[in-house]
C-alpha cells in the first residue's frame, strides 16, 4: 500500500506548505476568531435586547447565516465584498479584493453567528440577580454588561468558544473553493503540479488531525481545570 509512497515529494514541499499555506490558515483563523467573538458577543447582546426590532434583526442575521452552507456564504462574500467596497468608497466599479481579505471578512461574519449562539447561552447562564445588583449599584447597561455579566459569561463559555475555534480552523480549508492558498490549497497545488495526490492529501489530513486533536486535548484539560475552580 505504501510501496510507491513518495515521501520525498512531501519533504520537498514542506517549506511552501507551512510558510505559505499554514501561515495563511493560522492568520485567517486568528483574525476570524477574534473578529467573530467580538461581533458575535455584540450580536448576542442585540438578540437578548428587550427592544424587538434590534433582537429580530440580530436573530434574522444569525438564523440566515446558520441556514446556508458555508461554501455558499464564501461565494456570496467573494462576489459581494468588491461591491460593498465600491459602495463605501463611492467608486463606480467593484473594487479588487484579494482572496485573503475576502476570506477574512467571510469567516468573521459567518462565525459570528455561531459565536453569538454560544455567548447568548453564556449570558443567559448568569443569574438574573447579578444584573439586578449591577443596576442597583447604579451601573448603566454597558457597565453592567462589561464589568459583571460578560466576564462571567465569557469565562463559563471559554471551552465551547475554543472548540468552535478548532472547528473554524478546520473550516478555513473551504477557502479552497475560491482558490486561496491556505494549507489545503497549497497541498492541492503541489499535488496537481507533481501528480502526487495520494501523498499530499494524506499528509494534509495527518497535519490537520494532529493540530486539531492536540488543541482539543488542551481544551479538555482547560475544561477540567475550570470545572474544579467553580
Amino acid at each position: 500500500m505504501f510501496a510507491g509512497y513518495d515521501f520525498d515529494a512531501i519533504q520537498r514541499s514542506l517549506p511552501y506548505l507551512f510558510r505559505e499555506g499554514m501561515t495563511f490558515t493560522v492568520t485567517l483563523t486568528a483574525i476570524a476568531a477574534s473578529g467573530g467573538i467580538v461581533f458575535g458577543t455584540l450580536l448576542a447582546m442585540m438578540r437578548l435586547s428587550a427592544f424587538r426590532p434590534v433582537s429580530m434583526l440580530a436573530g434574522g442575521y444569525v438564523n440566515l447565516m446558520r441556514s446556508v452552507p458555508l461554501v455558499l456564504v464564501i461565494f456570496w462574500f467573494f462576489f459581494l465584498v468588491p461591491y460593498i467596497g465600491a459602495w463605501i468608497i463611492g467608486a463606480r466599479e467593484p473594487v479588487r479584493v484579494g482572496a485573503f481579505l475576502s476570506a477574512a471578512i467571510t469567516f468573521t461574519m459567518f462565525e459570528a453567528a455561531y459565536y453569538c449562539e454560544i455567548m447568548r447561552a453564556g449570558i443567559q447562564s448568569i443569574a438574573r440577580g447579578q444584573v439586578w445588583s449591577g443596576y442597583a449599584l447604579g451601573l448603566n447597561y454597558w457597565q453592567t454588561m462589561g464589568h459583571i455579566v460578560l466576564p462571567q459569561a465569557f469565562r463559563n463559555m471559554v471551552p465551547v468558544l475554543l472548540t468552535q475555534t478548532i472547528i473554524l480552523f478546520q473550516d478555513t480549508s473551504l477557502v479552497y473553493v475560491i482558490s486561496a492558498t491556505d494549507f489545503l490549497g497549497a497541498a492541492s497545488k503541489v499535488a496537481n503540479r507533481d501528480y502526487r495526490l495520494v501523498e499530499m492529501y494524506t499528509f494534509a489530513a495527518v497535519v490537520y488531525f494532529i493540530i486539531s486533536y492536540s488543541l482539543s486535548l488542551l481544551v479538555k484539560r482547560l475544561q477540567d481545570r475550570i470545572a474544579i475552580i467553580r
Partner: protein, 252 residues
C-alpha cells in the same frame, strides 16, 4: 455603485439545454437531498452503533469507538472528501480502484460524497447518542438488569428508545447540517445546489441572482425539515419524559 438585477434570468434556458435556470437549480436541490438522505441513513446506523458501544463496559470497544470519533472529527470535511475521491481508489486493489474511477458521472462523485458525509456525520450522531444514553437516570440501566434483561436487551428495550426521544432535537440540527455540508461535494465535481448556483453564475454572469435563488431554496428546505421534525417529535413524545436541556454546543 449600482447592481442591475435581472431576475428573468431564472426563466431563461441554461446552456445545457435541459430547461430553465430555475429548473437547473431545482435539479441541484434534488442531488443535494439525494446525497444528504443517503448519507443520513448510513450515518444514523453507524452513529447509533458507535455511540452505543462507547457507553458499554467493553473497554476495547470503547477505545475503538473513541479512535473512530477522534479520527473523523479532527480532519476537515473537505480533506476527507479528497481522501475518499482521490486517495481511496488508489489504495484499493487496482481492479476495484479502476472500477470506481470509471463510474459514469455523476456517480463517480456521488458515491464518494455519500460515504464521506455519512462517516463524517456518523461521528456527530455517535456523540449525540452517547450523550442521550448518559443523560438517562442510572436507575434505568440498573432496573433493566434487575429485570433479567441482557445488556443487549437493556439497550434495545429500555435505554435506546428513551435516548432517541431525548436526542431528536439535536439530530434535527445534524440533519440540517448534512444538507448544508453536502455542498462541499462540489469540490469533487458533484453538481448539487451550490455547485449549480456557481455554474449558473459562470454561464450567465448573473452572480447575485444565482446565489440569491440558491439561498432562498436552502431556506425553504430548512423550513420544511424543521416542520417535519417538529411533527415527528410531537408524535413520538412520551408524556412525562422531559428532554434534558442540552448545553450550548460548538458546531457548523
Amino acid at each position: 455603485m449600482k447592481y442591475t438585477w435581472h431576475w428573468q434570468i431564472l426563466f431563461e434556458t441554461e446552456p445545457g439545454g435541459t430547461g430553465t435556470y430555475l429548473h437547473y437549480l431545482l435539479v441541484g436541490l434534488g442531488w443535494t437531498l439525494a446525497t444528504a438522505l443517503a448519507a443520513w441513513v448510513i450515518a444514523l446506523a453507524l452513529g447509533v452503533v458507535v455511540g452505543t458501544v462507547r457507553t458499554t463496559t467493553a473497554r476495547w470497544a470503547v477505545r475503538l469507538g473513541n479512535l473512530y470519533v477522534e479520527i473523523f472529527r479532527n480532519v476537515p470535511l473537505i480533506v476527507q472528501m479528497f481522501l475518499w475521491f482521490f486517495v481511496v481508489p488508489e489504495l484499493l486493489p487496482e481492479a476495484v480502484g479502476d472500477w470506481i474511477k470509471q463510474m459514469p458521472p455523476p456517480w463517480g462523485s456521488y458515491v464518494p460524497a455519500v460515504l464521506c458525509l455519512a462517516i463524517f456525520t456518523s461521528v456527530r450522531v455517535a456523540e449525540q447518542v452517547g450523550a442521550g444514553i448518559n443523560s438517562l437516570p442510572r436507575g434505568q440501566r440498573l432496573a433493566a438488569t434487575a429485570m433479567g434483561l441482557s445488556q443487549f436487551e437493556a439497550y434495545r428495550r429500555v435505554m435506546l428508545p428513551q435516548a432517541f426521544r431525548i436526542i431528536l432535537p439535536p439530530l434535527t440540527s445534524e440533519f440540517m447540517n448534512i444538507i448544508k455540508n453536502s455542498s462541499v461535494a462540489l469540490t469533487i465535481g458533484l453538481l448539487e445546489l451550490t455547485g449549480r448556483a456557481r455554474a449558473m453564475q459562470e454561464f450567465s454572469f448573473r452572480v447575485f441572482e444565482a446565489f440569491s435563488a440558491a439561498t432562498v431554496i436552502y431556506l425553504l428546505t430548512n423550513l420544511v425539515v424543521v416542520l417535519v421534525m417538529r411533527a415527528l417529535e410531537k408524535s413520538v413524545r412520551v408524556p412525562g419524559l422531559i428532554a434534558a436541556g442540552a448545553g450550548p454546543q460548538a458546531g457548523h
